[in-house]
């Protein structure tokens, strides 16, 4: 009954968050959920404090979309921005939505 999907959680400095949200949808994600956060990390070089912290973005996606997202992150985000990303397995009820 429950279907398997991937949950991608991304924490990114505020100034880039809006662009990333657009990119996620472009990669095929059908939705996302964002909330404000702050934190510390190994890099810590960013403008985010001044912009008011980080944004924590979650998106539940299929395997294929996951691939596309990770690809995008690797080219356009990881090299430059204060960003953290982790992936986990989740199950959803209404699988046509994700």
């Amino acid at each position: 009954m429950l279907k398997k999907r991937k949950l991608v959680t991304i924490v990114i400095e505020t100034s880039i968050a809006h662009r990333l949200e657009d990119d996620l949808l472009e990669c095929g994600a059908k939705g996302f959920t964002s909330s404000l956060a702050h934190g510390a990390g190994p890099r810590n070089s960013r403008s985010s404090d001044i912009e008011g912290g980080n944004v924590r973005i979650e998106t539940v996606v299929s395997e294929e979309v996951l691939e596309a997202i990770l690809e995008k992150l690797k080219t356009n985000y990881f090299p430059h921005y204060a960003i953290s990303c982790w992936v986990s397995d989740v199950e959803v009820v209404r699988d046509e939505r994700y």
Binding site: I16, L36, H38, S45, S47, D49, I50, E51, G52, Y81
Partner: protein, 324 residues
């Protein structure tokens, strides 16, 4: 009032003290923290508010009054970032990308420095033309774009200017500032009267709270300063004086008052750390925030608070003495 007293008046204004308190909070490892949502709201308030004031002042000024200062400010907005870019190769060994990023910051303006300057000038009962708020909005944008253009020579990838410009100009800081000018211009003094307590009366208080948090942010960056190197430090303290003096000169030449010229000097001396970092981050990810934020927020901002602001007034008074 002598120099020392001037400096003291400036240093004991609530916003400046709040910034120091924020530095202290970080030094003491206090768990104080303005919630992210509130910090963002304060900056929205400040940007929109100053834009509105600029717009209202714009509507009240005659074309004759405004034309010369406006043209002067635009020239300033073009000259300062270019000067910063080339002087930086003298002061530091940074590459074009990072020099362009810094040029964008020093070519743009700092709302907070400006407001602290206005608080200072008003405490001395100096008259300041209302339209300096308009000049702030005008000076905000060209510096950023010129800085990015200069930096773009240093990057390998193709920069997509169209999309970048859209992202920058609709970025929240610039949108609020420009939108505020529009709103203020259209609503005029009659409309502004209805929101004056909110956007005017509360402004310095809100700024005080904002600077408390900004002081904490700056405090957390202090260790970055060590890595910045002596060259950046020298640039961050001498360039504002040069750019500021130029700004005062432009003010005096274009017929502004002593106070108004000092305010334009403060604007020109100030380095952006709200609009410019966001824009540079989006369009120029190769540049290191550790460098440009350290310089603008860590070095130049406190320098201006303590030394730059009263110096600009002194220069303005000096030039006035020359009968300029």
């Amino acid at each position: 009032m002598d120099g020392l007293q001037l400096a003291l008046t400036n240093l004991t204004s609530p916003p400046v003290l709040a910034f120091a308190l924020g530095l202290l909070a970080t030094a003491l490892r206090s768990d104080l923290r303005l919630p992210d949502a509130v910090y963002q709201a304060l900056s929205i308030y400040l940007l929109l508010g100053i834009g509105i004031k600029g717009g209202v002042a714009l509507g009240q000024s005659s074309f004759e009054e405004l034309a010369a200062p406006l043209v002067g400010t635009l020239i300033l907005g073009a000259v300062v970032p270019v000067a910063a870019f080339y002087l930086l190769s003298f002061f530091t060994r940074l590459d074009a990308v990072n020099r362009g990023a810094l040029a964008a910051h020093y070519g743009s303006t700092s709302l907070v420095t400006f407001t602290a300057g206005i608080v200072f000038l008003e405490a001395l009962q100096m008259q300041v033309e209302g339209y300096v708020n308009t000049l702030l909005a005008v000076l905000e944008i060209p510096g950023i774009i010129i800085g990015l253009a200069l930096a773009s020579r240093g990057i390998n990838r193709q920069m997509s200017w169209g999309e970048s410009l859209r992202e920058i100009l609709t970025g929240k800081s610039i949108f609020l500032l420009a939108g505020g000018v529009l709103l203020g211009f259209l609503t005029g003094t009659a409309g502004y009267a209805r929101i004056e307590i909110f956007f005017g009366g509360l402004f310095t208080g809100v700024l005080t709270l904002f600077l408390l948090e900004l002081g904490m942010v700056a405090g957390r960056r202090i260790k970055d300063l060590k890595e910045a190197g002596i060259g950046l430090f020298l640039f961050g303290t001498t360039f504002p004086l040069m750019a500021g003096a130029l700004g005062v000169l432009v003010g005096q030449i274009t017929g502004m008052s002593v106070g108004g010229s000092a305010a334009l000097g403060i604007l020109s001396a100030s380095a952006s750390y709200i609009a410019a970092p966001a824009a540079v981050r989006l369009a120029l990810p190769e540049a290191s925030p550790g460098i440009y934020l350290s310089a603008s927020l860590g070095i130049t901002f406190p320098f201006n608070l303590v030394i730059g602001i009263p110096t600009m007034l002194a220069i303005s008074q000096l030039l006035e003495g020359f009968g300029l």
